[in-house]
């Protein structure tokens, strides 16, 4: 791992809606992502965990340029992507690629696998036919699929195979960073392990950097070097994976870890606890987790807590006024 970050997100913000209607009425706005600052170093895997609606997919789409932030900057390898992707997505796509959650929906049902995989080779790398043919073989080999599959259609594949094709497509342009948005959530556990192992191998083989987004804590723990926990559009805790899972500081991270089902463990959580997210159109003035938090005080409802480092470990930061102390 080198010191210069490959990707640095500075105070990124994405607001949906907003503006004014024809008659000057303000339209309601939702902050999907707010004040997110993350650095990803070359060669590491950053896990992003959060529940549905926390803004993790919006963050992912902004990194790959499918969506533009309404505030802040996303800098990749020293270049400001926000400014670039607007008029030329291709330059960004050569460096940063994306793996979708639903493997089958992300493949055009009327195209053969060959056509799908050739697209990035042709449009991003401008390869000629023999070079494409050679690269296709390498790609199929990398994701452990037989080359005969190239002439089949997506519906002929199982979920796991389709996801491997999705990964091959992301690899095709030889990117430096791959954003994986819930890459194994739609798969059976047996297949999930296959895909995770392949991802692991590819990372070493091609020197890739991953941003791995998932709601599944155990999956994130098994793949990530560092982990960011998101809640209601903000990062509430970020740090080395091991530290976060061993001694979480934010009460929300605690709740997540205690809720995760694990073989051989009964649930630890009360069945009538409040699980409601705050109203996104009318966000609370202070900490978004206030209403659900067992440690809340009046202070939490007045101001948004900043991300602050732990006593002995400046890299383990939590956005909480009353964090659990590191053990």
């Amino acid at each position: 791992m080198s010191d210069a970050p490959l990707l640095s997100i500075e105070k990124a913000e994405r607001v949906f809606g907003g503006g004014r209607s024809l008659f000057g009425q303000p339209k309601p706005a939702v902050h999907a992502v707010q004040d997110v600052t993350i650095e990803v170093r070359k060669g590491e895997t950053l896990g992003v965990v959060g529940e549905s609606g926390c803004g993790k997919s919006t963050l992912a789409r902004m990194i790959v340029g499918l969506d533009a932030p309404t505030g802040g900057r996303i800098v990749f390898d020293g270049r400001d992507l926000v400014a670039e992707a607007g008029h030329d997505l291709r330059r960004l796509s050569r460096e940063v690629q994306y793996v979708f959650q639903d493997p089958v929906a992300s493949l055009n049902p009327r195209k053969t696998i060959r056509t799908i995989l050739e697209a990035p080779l042709r449009y991003l790398l401008d390869l000629d036919r023999p070079a494409r043919e050679k690269r296709l073989g390498e790609l199929m080999d990398a994701v452990n699929l037989a080359p005969e599959f190239l002439d089949r259609y997506p519906h002929e594949f199982s979920g796991g195979q389709a996801q491997r094709i999705g990964i091959a497509r992301a690899l095709a342009a030889d990117p430096k960073l791959i954003v994986l948005d819930e890459p194994v959530s739609a798969l059976d556990v047996s297949v999930q392990a296959q895909v995770l192992n392949i991802l692991d191998g590819l990372k070493d083989q091609f020197g890739l950097t991953y941003v791995f987004i998932s709601h599944d804590l155990s999956v994130v723990e098994s793949v990530s070097d560092r982990v960011a926990v998101m809640y209601f559009g903000r990062i509430v805790e970020i740090g080395a994976g091991k530290t976060i899972f061993r001694s979480p500081r934010h009460p929300y991270t605690h709740l997540l870890l205690n809720s995760a089902p694990a073989p051989g463990r009964r649930s630890l959580i009360a069945e009538d606890a409040n699980t409601e997210l705050p109203d996104p159109y009318n966000p609370p003035p202070g900490c978004a987790f206030y209403a659900r938090c067992p440690r809340h005080t009046d202070e939490c409802n007045r101001a948004v807590p900043p991300l602050a480092g732990a006593a002995g470990d400046e890299t383990h930061r939590a956005a909480c006024f009353h964090p659990h102390e590191s053990k």
Partner: protein
């Protein structure tokens, strides 16, 4: 032609193991569409053959022979007011009408689809501008608009063609725009964008092929309408100009002498009728074949209860201490000539207040097992082929439809995976709960409402009286699932069949719903049949577990036994796949290969092909379920013992 299709139909199953009939034989299955096709083909052939047939010149007048009746010598269908041969004019006219109708359809389809594609893909301001333009065209009555266009351009067949094409552009544009709008938000479009394709490339290379069937469907259903419109304009004298024959102008010519010489107008009228009718019938058939929604079986409406056609009925003497007792359950699906044995002999028993988990990969038959019990598997194509399901000793497969209807939702109730699609979006949750209560209990509306509020309290929904007035979309996912659970408890269920009830929920919500189900089954003393793919969830709630593979249970036992010392290699492998929180270093072991397809199961063990311990005897004969201790069974002849379970 019939012969040719018969042979292709016969060859198909051999070529395609799925046995799904191809498009042409599907179309020919539809009698009306086939009739339409035959009539249309005959008319087209006749019209095309007009120059070759020994017909008199259609425009040659012969005042001496005017208004001859049909079957007159030399004039099979008689002559018109100017003595022109009607048969000849009819065939030439049909040719003109067909040509104009088809060209107008093509023009309208091209421009309409283009506008629709661009509007749907671009969205935003472009969409608004284009669609408001289309709305303006639609605001005029079509005939008025066509008249206006013809008035500007002057009468003539070609101008009529333009007018009809323009009038029909909105029809295509609106249809295609809707489809394109949906497709443009799909993930494969994002993927294409990241592959470096430009907007035009995405629109025409990615989106268009997916829209094409809809364009063809729309064309096949509009072409008849276009021919009618052409005829209408020609009838008014704005289309084909004399002496050119066209079905509409022939009709117009005959109008004045309708009573003296009815055949002059009736013959082209019948031709228009036959042509348009045949095209419409054929168009409907084409739509049925191509439309994916209809193809997926929406036209074959399943009956209210799964057909029971049991080849073998097991002994149904009740066992004590069980509420639900399923014995030798076999459920099959029949597609074409293939039989898919989704459930191939399952025995399970759930006692009072007990929770039995059924774990398996997708396609293992766990949901079909659960749905079979109350006859919820759609028929056709599903059917129960054997076994029995005893509820307190009563054989559910032998019960009357009326009895099953009574039991559904009362003694046996279901909780499904997606609460948003289970609840009706247009009724409040209160209405739906009251309906569920009143279906089984003779309560007045106010009593039922009070009971509904109690039920919401039981599932720990705060402020129940207020929440009854909420619509499903106003509740969070967890709250919705609680409403579904409340509904399942509406009439003192003995068994709750929960099919992946927490899979669609977030982890924190999942944990709560699981604890709630766990508490409720103890409070209400109800048994739960819990279907899931997640061993973590199983540990949270289930007393006993059955592991399912390729339609059969491969291992059953208590949750602790199964998790700590799995005996079947499949169970062991499946547990090894699951990443465990707090053990990030653990290497995940994937199961190589894929589960077998259930229409072609091997003779021996279905897992043998993927099993590291498989030997020749595993593949030789069916493996029975053997007892390994109290309540512990395994379907394996080389099971893992405690010593090598860790290996």
């Amino acid at each position: 032609m019939a012969e040719a299709t018969a042979t292709t139909a016969a060859q198909k199953p051999a070529k395609k193991p799925k046995g799904r009939p191809d498009s042409l034989s599907l179309l020919l299955n539809n009698t009306l569409a086939t009739a339409g096709l035959v009539v249309f083909a005959l008319i087209v052939l006749a019209a095309l053959a007009a120059p070759l047939l020994p017909l008199p010149d259609p425009d040659a007048t012969a005042p001496a022979d005017r208004l001859l009746r049909p079957l007159a010598e030399g004039h099979l269908l008689g002559t018109d007011a100017l003595g022109r041969d009607i048969l000849s004019r009819l065939l030439w006219g049909t040719q003109v009408s067909l040509l104009v109708g088809i060209s107008a359809t093509l023009i309208a389809a091209f421009f309409g689809s283009l506008i629709g594609l661009v509007a749907g893909y671009a969205g935003g301001r472009v969409d608004t501008l284009l669609m408001r333009g289309i709305d303006m065209v639609m605001a005029f009555p079509y005939i008025l608009l066509a008249l206006a266009i013809v008035a500007v351009l002057g009468p003539g067949l070609l101008n009529a063609l333009y007018a009809i094409a323009v009038v029909n552009i909105p029809f295509f544009a609106r249809n295609i725009r809707g489809i394109a709008l949906g497709l443009s938000r799909r993930e494969f479009v994002d993927a294409a964008r990241l592959s470096g394709k430009s907007n035009a490339q995405i629109l025409f290379i990615e989106v268009l092929p997916n829209v094409l069937p809809v364009i063809i469907i729309t064309m096949s259903t509009t072409i008849g309408w276009m021919i009618l419109e052409t005829a209408g304009l020609s009838f008014l004298g704005l289309g084909a100009q004399p002496p050119q024959a066209d079905l509409g102008s022939m009709l117009g010519d005959g109008r004045k002498i309708l009573f003296t010489a009815p055949h002059v107008s009736i013959i082209p009228g019948v031709m228009i009728f036959a042509l348009v009718m045949s095209i419409n019938l054929l168009g409907d058939g084409v739509r049925d074949v191509l439309d994916p929604r209809l193809k997926s079986g929406a036209l074959t409406r399943p009956v209210a209860r799964t057909a029971v056609m049991r080849e073998d009925v097991p002994d149904v003497t009740p066992r004590p201490d069980t509420v639900l007792d399923v014995r030798g359950l076999k459920t099959e699906f029949r597609f074409g000539g293939e039989i898919y044995k989704a459930v191939g002999g399952v025995d399970l028993a759930v006692g009072q207040g007990e929770c039995l988990g059924v774990v398996g990969e997708s396609g293992s038959g766990k949901s079909v097992t659960a749905m079979s019990i109350m006859g919820l598997v759609p028929t056709p194509p599903g059917r129960i082929a054997g076994g029995a399901a005893l509820l307190d000793g009563e054989d559910l497969f032998a019960a009357s439809d009326e009895r099953i209807r009574k039991l559904r939702g009362s003694a046996v109730s279901h909780v499904f995976q997606d609460p948003l699609s289970t609840l009706h979006p247009l009724f409040t949750v209160g209405d739906q709960l009251v309906e569920a209560i009143q279906a089984h209990q003779p309560l007045s509306k106010s009593e039922a409402t009070a009971k509904a509020a109690d039920l919401l309290k039981v599932v720990r929904i705060p402020n129940p009286a207020e929440r009854l007035k909420a619509y499903p979309h106003e509740l969070s996912g967890g709250m919705r699932q609680r409403v579904c659970i409340a509904m399942a408890l509406a009439d003192d269920a003995k068994i709750i069949i929960a099919d992946e009830p927490t899979t669609a929920l977030d982890v924190t919500v999942q944990a709560q719903v699981l604890s709630l189900l766990d508490t409720l089954r103890k409070e209400k003393n109800a048994g739960i049949l819990f279907i899931t793919h997640d061993f973590g969830v199983v540990s949270a709630i289930c007393d006993r577990v059955a592991v399912m593979y390729a339609g059969k249970f491969v291992e059953t036992g208590t949750t602790e036994e199964i998790l700590n010392s799995p005996a079947h290699p499949y169970t062991a492998k499946l547990i090894d796949c699951v990443p465990v929180l707090g053990e990030p270093e653990r290497r995940l072991d994937a199961i190589e290969g894929r589960p077998p397809v259930v229409n072609n199961l091997p003779v021996g063990c279905a897992f043998a092909a993927r099993c590291p311990r498989a030997q020749d005897d595993c593949r030789a004969a069916p493996i029975p379920l053997t007892e390994m201790g109290k309540g512990r069974t395994v379907r394996c002849i080389h099971p893992l013992t405690g010593d090598d379970a860790d290996v």
